[in-house]
């Protein structure tokens, strides 16, 4: 059986998309000969030429802005932001234009744009290299926001995102870039907008995404030894949110803990808890708890594991809701 890192799977998704659709372009800082600082675009420029795979100046607003013009000219841009913390200059173009353009033109234009952003922490990175920016995008109408948790689904989600007619913010969990997964790369499987049950269980559902899926699976393993069986729901897509699978999980387990790296206040956990109340309040056996990053700037390497949800914090939250 084949084995892939997430970097290799993303690279394959880009390669396959470019081979399939000659209108697909890949660009960003250092994505050419170097293949990006994480090598996600490695070899693409040699294979597809420097017109379709090109370096840009260090200009994040410019990178996002040219996506708009290129889309109007009939191209499908797949742009790379070098790091989460350096993507903020592009926010104005993303929020004011990429997200709104179709609406502003009464549906006469569309923005089939993918903006890939290496995101989240856990890599002992310098400051500005461990940000969780998902809420900024999830709160912006007009965008879709997806986060893969492993190599095989990263291939699927990126392929689907590039084929999607709406703009997609594609957040790549850096700490999972080099983790290997065995299997075959395939687009078939869960579509965009669908969550994925990664582990079945009856006592509690852990709702999570990105690198925290692995951590929740570890926590579920620990809890299983205590005869507490946890369902692990990998959201994959933050916009749209798979409300059906979320409600189904509540109906099935009656208890939910949401886990994410981002700070707690107004993080995805707040939205998920509120949606659960709206969709499945009658099935709740305990309050929804959140295990998240803290409301402080992302910490330096020496402290990051004290900031990120740990197996201990997750299991402790599950024990609380189960004994409620």
């Amino acid at each position: 059986m084949a084995e892939y890192t997430m970097v290799a799977a993303l690279n394959a998704a880009l390669r396959d998309a470019m081979a399939k659709d000659p209108r697909t372009l890949v660009f960003g800082e250092d994505v050419g000969e170097l293949g990006g600082v994480y090598r996600v675009t490695e070899g693409l420029q040699r294979e597809f030429g420097s017109e379709r795979v090109f370096n840009t100046p260090i200009a994040e607003a410019g990178i996002a802005g040219i996506c708009v013009g290129l889309s109007l000219a009939g191209w499908r841009p797949v742009a790379e932001m070098q790091f989460d913390g350096f993507s903020y200059p592009a926010l104005d173009q993303i929020v004011s234009h990429i997200a709104k353009y179709r609406n502003r033109t009464r549906g006469r234009t569309s923005m089939p744009i993918v903006i890939r952003i290496p995101s989240f922490g856990g890599i002992r990175g310098k400051e500005h290299h461990g940000e969780s920016p998902e809420t900024y995008y999830a709160h912006t109408a007009g965008l879709k926001v997806v986060v893969p948790s492993g190599a095989l689904d990263a291939y699927r989600l990126l392929s689907l995102a590039i084929a999607d007619p709406d703009p997609v913010i594609f957040l790549e969990p850096k700490s999972r870039y080099w983790a290997k997964e065995q299997g075959e790369l395939a687009v078939d499987g869960p579509r965009m907008g669908r969550a994925w049950v990664r582990r079945e269980g009856e006592a509690c559902t852990l709702v999570t995404y990105g690198a925290m899926v692995t951590r929740c699976l570890e926590a579920a393993e620990v809890l299983a030894r205590e005869r507490v069986s946890c369902r692990v729901l990998d959201l994959r897509s933050l916009v749209p949110l798979d409300l059906d699978t979320l409600a189904e999980s509540v109906r099935k387990t009656g208890r939910v803990v949401v886990v994410h790296e981002a700070p707690r206040t107004l993080g995805m956990g707040a939205e998920i808890a509120a949606r659960i109340m709206e969709e499945a309040f009658d099935y709740l056996e305990a309050p929804v708890l959140r295990v998240t990053g803290y409301d402080v700037p992302y910490p330096p390497a020496a402290l990051e594991q004290r900031y990120l949800p740990s197996v201990e914090r997750i299991t402790s939250a599950v024990r609380r809701v189960v004994s409620y």
Binding site: G65, C67, V68, L72, A73, D92, Y101, T105, D166, P240
Partner: protein, 356 residues
């Protein structure tokens, strides 16, 4: 008092002096009927602009940004483009929209408050949505030009922006990228001297057009109230772009005779004397004198233009004032090609609610 009309030591490209006399080669390659059309379009634009001010005062439009005084800068530059070129306006380019054949009633839906940005068809009219976030549209123009270049199309894009926009980072990123990628783009700055209440000298310490050299592209300073000069320099920039020689930065010196918008009071920050001096440089009066003197047009042509304008403006008024709100369903209709199911639910519950 430093007045804006001569902000720099260098003289702008000028073919016709404010009194209508030729001071350069006025043979810019236009046929007599095209020369007359420039005048006609400027007259139509001004009449519509004034009508829009009236419509706003009568409560038929929301806030409106008048462009009176900038007709030559807009008409001359837009006239220099080919049908397949693409214009990326800011929010004061109604005259350019008229030249490009944009459906004006649809355009004014923006100011009517019935829809945002681009209620007209931006693809068919090759005129991007009205763009209010300052300077952001310049980057779009560069991206479109990059795409056209990849398609080997003999076209160019033109981005309109003001002097204030050159302080934004997006201006810099757009200009730099345009030059680096050799994009067939024209960066057209209408320097009207004022960014709302902030004069040019508080906006920038050096000239705008000379920044082009730092980016590695030509920069041109033109008298923005001289329609032939504007046409001529824009045409040259477009030909350069089409020939694969990359972008050009044009700085057109002009003046906004009215307020920034109907919500603004320009008397709070600039003198009546300054406004009067710019009235003496009026782009339409200047060109009219020139055409009459050269024999390319006569008084009856001007009268015909005024008659046409009167009739057309009345039609636009009727079209605008008859516009009601769009159906509530449209609130949800355009944000996504494939909307989230939760949004579909909101649409159903909103549009099927008893109170509508």
């Amino acid at each position: 008092m430093v007045i804006h009309e001569d902000p720099y030591d260098v003289a702008p490209v000028r073919l016709v002096a404010p009194d209508g006399t030729a001071v350069g080669d006025t043979d810019v390659g236009l046929k007599p009927d095209e020369l007359r059309d420039l005048l006609r379009l400027m007259i139509l634009s001004r009449r519509l602009d004034r009508e829009c001010m009236a419509l706003q005062r009568q409560g038929e439009l929301t806030v409106y940004p008048p462009f009176e005084g900038q007709e030559a800068a807009q008409v001359g530059s837009a006239f220099a483009l080919e049908p397949d070129d693409f214009v990326f306006p800011s929010f004061r380019e109604l005259a350019a929209a008229i030249v490009r054949g944009v459906d004006v009633v649809e355009y004014l839906q923006y100011h009517r408050g019935t829809w945002h940005g681009g209620p007209y068809d931006p693809i068919a009219s090759r005129f991007a949505p009205i763009c209010v976030p300052v300077a952001t549209q310049i980057v779009h123009a560069v991206g479109w030009a990059m795409g056209a270049k990849l398609d080997r199309l003999p076209v160019c894009s033109l981005a309109y922006f003001g002097d204030g926009a050159t302080s934004e980072g997006d201006f810099h990123e757009a200009a730099n990228m345009a030059a680096v990628f050799g994009a067939p783009a024209i960066l057209f700055c209408q320097n009207n001297g004022w960014a709302i209440s902030v004069p040019l000298r508080e906006q920038a310490a050096g000239p705008i057009h000379t920044r082009a050299e730092g980016y590695g592209m030509p920069g041109v300073l033109v008298d923005g109230n001289d329609v032939l000069a504007v046409y001529s320099v824009t045409r040259a920039a477009a030909e350069r772009a089409r020939a694969g020689e990359g972008p050009t930065l044009i700085e057109a010196l002009t003046y906004r005779m009215g307020p920034h918008s109907t919500a603004d009071d320009a008397t709070k920050y600039r003198s009546a004397d300054e406004v009067k001096r710019w009235r003496e440089r009026d782009p339409i009066d200047r060109y009219l004198k020139h055409l009459l003197a050269s024999g390319a047009a006569d008084e009856s042509f001007v009268a015909d233009c005024e008659d046409e304008a009167k009739e057309w403006v009345a039609d636009v008024r009727a079209g605008i004032t008859s516009l009601g709100p769009p159906p509530v369903d449209e609130l949800f209709g355009f944000a996504y090609v494939e909307p989230p199911e939760s949004l579909e639910r909101d649409r159903r519950s909103s549009t099927e609610a008893p109170d509508g």
